[in-house]
Symmetry: none
Subunit: 195 residues, 2 copies
DNA sequence: GTTGCTACCTGAGCG
DNA sequence: CCGCTCAGGTAGCAA
């Protein structure tokens, strides 16, 4: 039934970790929200209930509203169930469509597909310390050829090594000055300190 | 203007690391909150917006409310901006005052000053991975004698060292498989890969 | 106590 | 540099 009516794609979204996580909401990019799901002042300011069908004809109902504080449009109630039952994961693509033609005009459809490519986690930009893998424009993962992160990692390693040494020295010096009871590591440094 | 009206101090608070950190809130000690910023049932249960002026006459607006879950009074919205713009740090002192006399009664003022004493960072307890310095009961810094953190640091260093090696190996292997253009480091590995 | 949901809030990134 | 967007949060409540 649902598979046979004529539809047109409104927009796709590559879902983020937040969209599939415990926040229980899907952010609808503002441009698409305002184009396809307008919230007039006349519509209830508590948001709307929107009905969708998936490709198997299964109905899904989401609460759709606007968050003033973040100035964003979201699907809330009903969304977490969708994530769970379709086992949606970050990086997967959700596709919003609407019916065209007399039989389906005004009906909404929702569909989803696995992300292409191997199982790659896309950390948020500010958490990207270093990546061994990146995602190319073709949607497939590839090793990150940007070598800067590797260099940074190496430098960090060296820095930590020095920190380790410095810590031990500081500790030894402190023991020397305060003549505290020896508590168990680095006997050689201690001996040296006590001379 | 603000500097010339008569004020009286309500209370000072030595701000904690949480007050200046990512929690974006200032806890108001309950005794002072209930005395000076009462939240009646009649007042909006969403909290209040309180306006303050600093000694330069600059206005600051904070959302002030009660958190049931922690049974504490807090300044939320607006507080993080205050922290940033005044470069407030843990240990600094924030002073809440109110106007007295006909010209200023009912107006609130806020002021801040640097902590006295040495430059000591007080990390929140659950972030204390390792400290080279602790703060003694006299308020002065002293080396931390807890050695566990040092051991953890050493282990971390070793782990990172292995990561570094693994990264280089992976990179070399990838170069081998894809025969990409050499981009600039580790000529020896590259040569090996190209053979 | 745990989960789902509403309504807030902020910072990073980007144009 | 400024303003917008939105990913990632929090508090509080209800079931």
């Amino acid at each position: 039934a649902a598979a046979e009516v004529e539809k047109e794609c409104m927009f796709d979204k590559v879902v983020t970790p937040s969209d599939t996580g415990k926040l229980n909401r899907l952010v609808i990019p503002k441009q698409h929200a305002e184009k396809y799901f307008p919230l007039d002042a006349s519509s209830n300011d508590n948001g709307l209930l929107l009905d969708f069908e998936d490709s198997a004809g299964k109905p899904w109902r989401f609460r759709y509203s606007y968050w003033n504080s973040s100035q964003s449009y979201v699907m809330t109630k009903g969304w977490s169930r969708f994530v769970k039952e379709t086992r949606l994961e970050a990086g997967d693509i959700v596709s919003f469509k609407r019916g065209v033609g007399e039989a389906a005009r005004g009906r909404f459809f929702i569909d989803w597909r696995r992300r292409r490519g191997p199982d790659v986690v896309l950390p948020p930009p500010h958490h990207r310390g270093f990546n061994l893998l990146s995602v190319g424009s073709d949607g497939f993962a590839c090793p990150d050829v940007n070598l800067l992160p590797i260099l940074i990692l190496m430098i960090r390693c060296r820095a930590l090594f020095f920190l380790e040494i410095i810590t031990l020295v500081l500790w030894a010096v402190w023991n020397t000055r305060n003549d505290v009871i020896f508590t168990g590591i680095s006997p050689s440094l201690l001996m040296q300190a006590k001379v």
